[in-house]
């Protein structure tokens, strides 16, 4: 247990370091871009109307004072960390005075619900079917699934999303192509709303599952194909152990460990894909919020969303890391 404690501390330090570097980099990148949120806002406001040059200049100065964007960069950096520690991301500049945390709080459950659910479905299904395909190598259905999964695997996620959009939104319009729930149902904890949320999540969810299931399937099939030739598996088969038990206790249990590591490694990739997919389907999650923040030059919002993402992905990796030794007894900690 002493060894595990040291391992835990090391991993936690690594987690803190990743979060610190990630957020600091994001802070400086957003603040050093030529896009000034005040100028962007003034440009947005004057695009269609107000153009009195003196009034516009006065407005620019008033906004700088209001938003506090005129302070030196390092002062803003330290102030940001001070607020970050209490999860205060400050006000959104494009939605002033609404706090960034409030905007994130509203979008986060949608992204979390969609991403976590679909990632887990893809991971469980991909590994289960991949394991079966590796063990029952002559099964025609599993072979066919393997071909289909391999076919989908190299297609970029935005192409998959648009294909689904055209297929189920236009050619065979049976599924909603936009939003998180229908306007035609009353929001709340009622069955029509729940069903509507589920229905609206089918296409974006399917896009996430289709692009990720192939890699899990192929990885697991390859792992299992190797394990089934191991002596202990052959011995168990010769010893009359049931195939189901061999599959579950001898093969899958040994093969799953690298896939857990793979899940941790691929979390950020799934998050990136989810942002694009949310945008394509107008799904009301963090992806759309991030894109809106980028276009508005609202670095408070961009920083907030990015910080949450960095913390969430790093925390997921940390969690998997610390759980790993608990379910894989072969891992030795010293």
């Amino acid at each position: 247990m002493h060894g595990y404690g040291i391992y835990l501390l090391k991993r936690f330090a690594q987690f803190v370091l990743v979060v610190f570097i990630g957020i600091s980099l994001t802070f400086f990148i957003t603040h050093l871009t030529p896009i000034d949120p005040v100028d962007r806002m003034v440009a947005g406001m004057t695009t269609f109307g107000q153009s009195d040059p003196e009034a516009v200049e006065a407005m620019r100065e008033a906004l700088r004072a209001l938003y506090g964007t005129g302070a030196p960069l390092l002062d803003q950096y330290f102030e940001y960390w001070g607020r970050m520690l209490v999860f205060d991301f400050g006000p959104s500049l494009s939605s002033f005075p609404t706090p960034v945390s409030q905007l994130i709080g509203r979008a986060l459950p949608w992204t979390f619900g969609l991403l976590a659910t679909c990632t887990l479905i893809a991971w469980v299904l991909g590994n289960l079917l991949g394991g079966l395909a590796g063990y029952y190598r002559n099964n025609l259905a599993l072979k066919t699934f393997g071909v289909v999964a391999m076919g989908f695997h190299p297609i970029p996620h935005y192409i998959i999303a648009f294909l689904l959009l055209i297929l189920f939104g236009y050619l065979w319009p049976i599924l909603p192509i936009s939003g998180g729930a229908s306007q035609q149902v009353e929001r709340g904890l009622n069955l029509p709303f729940v069903l509507s949320v589920l229905k609206h999540s089918v296409l974006p969810g399917l896009a996430i599952i289709l692009i990720s299931i192939g890699s899990w399937f192929m990885g697991m099939r390859a792992l299992v194909s190797n394990i089934v030739t191991e002596d202990y598996v052959v011995y168990a088969e010769l010893g009359g152990v049931s195939r189901r038990r061999i599959m579950r206790s001898y093969v899958m249990r040994n093969a799953i460990a690298p896939q857990v590591t793979g899940l941790a490694m691929s979390m950020s990739g799934f998050y990136n894909a989810a942002i694009i997919i949310e945008y394509v389907f107008s799904y009301p999650g963090l992806g759309r919020l991030l894109i809106a923040g980028v276009y508005a030059g609202d670095y408070g919002l961009v920083l907030g969303v990015t910080a949450i993402s960095i913390v969430a992905v790093s925390a997921a990796v940390f969690l998997i890391d610390v759980l790993y030794p608990l379910f894989d007894p072969r891992v030795q900690l010293s």
């Binding site: 962007r40 269609f48 516009v56 407005m59 008033a62 004072a65 494009s94 659910t117 887990l120 729940v194």
Partner: protein, 627 residues
């Protein structure tokens, strides 16, 4: 089972998070609901309806089209009863002789949606709030102009101004939007910089029905007392409900309208428009056939940075204009669906009758001395030529009536004349060696045309085509994709040539002060400093200043204003400070499955582009097709 244990709490968390923001309103029936695209997209802070605050909050969500009101509206097209509409004001503004005082007579019998009467107190409160609060969207406009405000009686407001301003009423005159009036009884005692104004108390004919807390849609319901609003003068609004929705990227808008889930698309690509025209029989646009789009009172142009040495000579600027084949630019940008303009006025609304038509003769006889010959560069048949060019592929979609062709494709433009262009460059001291142009200082004549990229693909394609044409002429021209840095670079003068617009007009009214006042040399920033809108070209001209100063001294409706506007056009033709190309055409597409009576070129009673506040006038003409 383990998986289920994990998924159930996740799903519950998702539903709970949305339930917290549940709206207590039943969904509106489809056949009573007009569904409109909100081009602002999804609104992050959907709970805030305080549109007096700065920021990119929900405005085109129906809030400023259906909920707000102010003194006057100028229609960018022809209007229901003329282009000028006295809305909250009972009559046009009344100025004193030296324009230091503006009196507004208010319309009586107008009520807020909560039953409180609208009076001069609301106007005084709105003005004083802006005078006393820094950081509101229009605080600086009030603070620079207004010394004090008073209400001698409940239906009269007098603004005492700090300095003469014959266009002070423009602050309260809607083009796209304007300064909206606040409800005193709601805002009093609130911090205007923090107040959410939720639910909004409205002066318009609609009130908020429900909205998506995630900001994807907002639904407005016709007020029971709609007769106590200003729009009632034109009749009862047709739609019982109006929903403004973010339908997503352009492809999805097309699909949504084909599925009859989106009645008005704000804008799509030319290709999207052509798809709908072909495959969606119930979809209509501004023009019955090609080019379909509504020309906005905005004029995309090639904007020179006049603070660069290479663009100092009018001969150089004219040479660059004559090196352009506008027909190819029209095809590249809008696939031919452009409405071209040779002069610095958008060819839209009532402008052709005030500027383009009266100046045709002058333009046709306009002479340009290239140093080796005198040419007449204007070709009044250019619009006709574009129509003829498109006819073999578009057939009956292309009009044959000359007036219709002029309205659709524009009138004339400058003939591409590479020989004259070369002579003009030589006149300016440039030399050509091996087909490549060199500046008087011996350096290669290079031009980078800054374009917006994905954000405005039509203009990007136009800029790329012009770069290609200039390159063929021997200039080292390239199109530079600035993406999100386009606006900061345009404003700080960090460009050589950009494709954008510095001309925006009222559309329906011939007065040019809306954009022209900001072209005065007083406002030109030093190189590297931020240029206030809209003189992005940073052009200074004593002749222009004299015209602007004269416009400031004539009343808004004085015919002398049009004469001065024509003087401006002639000056800019001679000087070519920017190369005007075309109006900004918006492919607004309307589906007649559920509603009919939309504004079109044949019945141009208002602007169909639904994010303009003027689009409220559409509501009184729309009627359901499926009662």
């Amino acid at each position: 089972m383990k998986l289920a244990r994990l998924l159930v709490p996740l799903a519950a968390a998702l539903f709970l998070s949305t339930a917290v923001h549940a709206q207590d309103a039943s969904p509106p029936p489809r056949n009573q609901t007009l569904i409109v695209e909100n081009p602002q997209g999804t609104i992050p802070n959907a709970d805030s309806f305080n549109l007096w605050l700065p920021g990119l909050r929900g405005v085109s969500t129906g809030l400023h089209q259906l909920g707000m009101d102010t003194f006057w509206y100028i229609d960018p097209d022809h209007g229901l009863d003329g282009v000028w509409d006295n809305s909250l004001a009972a009559e046009p503004p009344i100025y004193n002789e030296d324009f230091t005082e503006m009196t507004v007579k208010l319309r009586q019998g107008i009520y807020w949606s909560d039953g409180v009467e609208f009076t001069a107190d609301d106007v005084v409160f709105t003005t004083e709030t802006h005078l006393n609060t820094d950081g509101l969207l229009r605080s600086s406009s009030y603070q620079l102009n207004v010394e004090s405000v008073e209400a001698p009686d409940p239906y009269t407001v007098v603004f005492h101004l700090k300095r003469p301003n014959s266009r002070f009423h423009a602050l309260f005159t809607v083009r796209w939007n304007a300064a909206w009036i606040m409800p005193r009884h709601v805002f009093e005692g609130q911090d205007p910089l923090q107040f959410d104004f939720n639910p909004p108390v409205t002066l318009g004919a609609y009130k908020l029905h429900s909205y998506d807390p995630n900001g994807q849609w907002f639904t407005w319901e016709k007020r029971e007392d709609w007769e106590r609003t200003t729009i009632a003068r034109f009749g009862e609004p047709g739609p019982q409900y109006v929903t403004y929705v973010d339908p997503g990227p352009p492809d999805r808008r097309v699909i949504a309208q084909m599925n009859h889930e989106l009645d008005i698309i704000h804008d799509v690509s030319p290709e999207g428009m052509f798809t709908l025209a072909k495959d969606s029989p119930s979809s209509i646009a501004w023009f019955d056939g090609f080019p379909y789009a509504h020309p906005d009172p905005t004029l995309p142009a090639l904007i020179f940075n006049h603070q660069l040495e290479k663009f100092q000579s009018a001969d150089v600027r004219w040479a660059l204009a004559l090196a352009i084949d506008i027909k190819a630019v029209s095809m590249a940008s809008y696939r031919g669906a452009a409405t071209i303009s040779a002069i610095q006025i958008p060819p839209t609304g009532t402008h052709p009758q005030y500027y383009h038509e009266p100046l045709t003769e002058w333009l046709t006889s306009f002479e340009l001395d290239t140093g080796q010959q005198v040419i007449r560069p204007y070709d009044p048949t250019m619009g006709q030529q574009i129509a003829d060019m498109l006819r073999p592929t578009m057939g009956d979609e292309i009009p044959t009536d000359p007036q219709q062709i002029a309205a659709s494709f524009g009138m004339g433009w400058w003939k591409q004349d590479l020989e004259a262009a070369a002579q003009l460059l030589e006149k300016a001291g440039f030399t050509r060696r091996d087909g490549e142009w060199y500046m008087p200082n011996g350096e290669r004549f290079s031009i980078r045309i800054m374009v917006e990229g994905d954000g405005r693909p039509v203009m990007t394609r136009a800029g790329t085509m012009v770069a290609q044409q200039w390159r063929q002429f021997g200039i080292d021209a390239t199109a530079e994709n600035a993406q999100a840095a386009f606006f900061p670079r345009r404003e700080s003068g960090d460009f050589e040539v950009c494709i954008s617009w510095s001309v925006e007009t009222w559309g329906g009214h011939p007065d040019l002060s809306f954009f022209l006042d900001s072209w005065h040399s007083d406002f030109v920033a030093a190189p590297g400093e931020i240029q206030p809108p809209r003189n992005w070209q940073r052009w200074s001209s004593p002749e222009l200043d004299a015209i602007i100063e004269q416009i400031r001294e004539v009343p808004f409706d004085d015919p002398r204003g049009v004469e001065l506007g024509q003087e401006f056009v002639k000056l800019t033709v001679r000087e070519m400070p920017t190369i005007p190309l075309m109006s900004y055409n918006v492919f607004t597409v309307m589906d007649e499955t559920y509603w009919t009576g939309y504004p079109t070129a044949a019945d141009p009673y208002t602007n169909p582009v639904p994010n303009w506040a003027n689009s409220r006038y559409m509501m009184v003409r729309l009627r359901p097709t499926q009662p």
